[in-house]
Symmetry: none
Subunit: 218 residues, 4 copies
DNA sequence: CATGAATGAGATTTCATTCAT
DNA sequence: GATGAATGAAATCTCATTCAT
């Protein structure tokens, strides 16, 4: 009974997934607003009405894709267990590790990644909460992480929230260029991650060559 | 004659500007897709048909706003004359100067800035060329700038294109957080710019404390 | 299965036909330009959007009506098998036969006939090709027919293309007067056809009483 | 005073005529419905508003062009003084004369002729009265003319109204082919008129070779 | 569960005409 | 008389969603 039920559920889930996958492709190719429900169902080979047996509507489906994506990203970062970071050397190694994990996630999900960065904020105001929540989570995690590292004497004193924000920005723009716009495509992921890690590490040292306090600048 | 013509032109231009301003507000409040031409004309107090005497349509108007904005940003960076940068100290001062100029531009144009980062890529594929062109210009300018600084012995050897990309990313995300999402609002612009400049400078030094070559990492 | 499919198709076709019929009436009553899609759907009792499930738009529908009509007319003439015409007597009988067939077609389709003669050329330049094609076909058929009759010694030598053109003109104007403008309504179709046939026959004899060559006329 | 007034009037009239001429061209090129008032005034080099100082509107202007044209045609036929037609030979000469006059009129006014035959009936129901009136006049004149000729023993007994209708149809279709559709363009006007006249004359003889009465046909 | 025909709200856009200057 | 900017009514068409079969 259970087996049969599961098999049935599994069949239903498979179709659901197929429709989500088709939606990703259609959204990727035409953009959310130009994408038509008819195009999605056509790709899966079901009738228009069937769509509404699986999703509440086009917008709800988009929200689900968005959720999936954000959870994937947040999870990737959250699941990362930095273990015992007791030196900048280890820090570097760990950052590289998480950087490569993230890169892999994005590369494995190019289309939804592109959709996310292109238009997630333009679909409906409702989703902004969702997106903001993910960013807040990410930024809070990073800010905390920075604070801990500082307490361990591994990074210098600074505004850890701004640091986190900048870090996210660097990563994001590099991803967008590589994955959404296909520039930087000749650069190896590893080289890119190295640059990111290096830049992060550099920006967190105590004394920066030639850097002077604000007052002296005037 | 000329005076009369100019007066007429000026009147026309004023109304055009009023419509553009109204459009910015409506786009900002509702988003491009939910924005209606009727809302725009209502705000200016003219008839529906009048809109089409000034613009070819909603999309063309959006394109014009986008163009204006991108030109403003690119011009702000391009107009910046770094002058004789012969030390990292001067470099820091100059970066701070351009950073503050840009910040001012964004703060003075909060709404169109928000529209740009929220949905410029989601309006129509036609605009992507426009946007990409601006990014390419910006990235090329920065890449060249980095190369020059390196030749002068002011920054270390690295992939200058990736460096430029990361820099743009940092700046962007910080702007988006402050201006579009109203987080970071308690931070002073100057503090934010200082962090950005500092991070840039740090990331371009020759030896980064604790940083090791890839091979040793394994 | 087939039955079900056929039944479905047949239902669809019926509605399509109903819409075409309604369109003919609306076009007839108001003229193409003043006719509104809303009037058409109202007559059939379906929603506005339904119209676009069956036709690409008002113009395409008009084109279809035009095509149908032209095909009907051309087919009526083309299907007419003049058989073995070996005397002017048989020729007269056969012309009368085809004339009556055509008259029947026009009378059975008064409204679309009226629409055709009133405004087919004024709807859109695209349709002129269609219309010209039908006229060319008709004129070519008649020209050939005249040539054959001449070879058989049944009609005199003359410019057969001009003859065909005149013949079409006579028929047309008579139809327009009877069917579109309701003049000549007291004349029996048979009397009209007889006059047409007689005129055609008379105009194709070798010697015309009192007719003189051009030179002598001056 | 009078002179000055006349000169003034004349100037106004010239502009009016220029606008009418421009309208003919625009109507000819785009068709009445696609023609824009802006295109007409642009051609003359006056402002949009000026148009309404000279005409009540687009439709009224069209009506005026129509009137002018119909009057021209009717006048050409009505002005024709058949003089003393006392033989079929003279009849032939006179018909040829009026045919050539008409041909000249149409050729001199190709564009308005084309407009007339293409779409005069499709502009507005109001104009149908005007057009019908012209046709009625023409048909009545021809019917009378035929009746007189019959009384003089020059043409056979038949339905003179149908005869008139057929004659108008022949002439019309030939004109449309030559002038509106540019077929038959290689034929000399004189050859065409000769065919028309010959056909008319032939169709009005008493005994038609091979023609049999209706009853015998069955 | 699946189908797919039908719905219908509503936004964009056009252009003849007006009228203040 | 001339101008030309402004008007605004109104019609087409789209497509997400529904629901009877």
């Amino acid at each position: 009974m259970t087996t049969k039920e599961q098999r049935r559920k599994s069949k239903r889930d498979k179709r659901r997934d197929a429709m989500k996958q088709a939606a990703i492709e259609v959204f990727f190719e035409h953009g959310y607003h130009a994408a038509k429900v008819s195009q999605i169902v056509e790709r899966v080979g079901v009738a228009q009405g069937t769509f509404y047996l699986y999703f509440e509507g086009k917008q709800q489906l988009f929200g689900e894709l968005l959720s999936d994506f954000l959870e994937l990203v947040v999870t990737t970062v959250a699941n990362w267990d930095p273990g015992e970071i007791d030196s900048r050397r280890v820090l570097q190694r760990e950052l590289t590790r998480v950087g490569m994990s993230l890169t892999e996630v994005f590369l494995d999900n190019r289309k939804i990644t592109a959709i996310f960065f292109r238009e997630s904020l333009a679909v409906a105001p409702e989703f902004n909460t969702l997106i903001r929540h993910a960013y807040e989570t990410l930024l809070a995690m990073l800010t905390d992480f920075n604070r801990i590292l500082h307490r361990r004497g591994l990074i210098a004193e600074m505004d850890f929230r701004i640091l986190a924000t900048m870090t996210v920005g660097m990563v994001e723009r590099v991803i967008v260029e590589r994955i959404v716009h296909d520039t930087l495509e000749e650069k190896e992921p590893r080289a890119i991650v190295d640059h990111l890690v290096m830049h992060y590490l550099a920006g967190t040292t105590d004394d920066i060559e030639g850097f002077v306090a604000e007052e002296e600048l005037k």
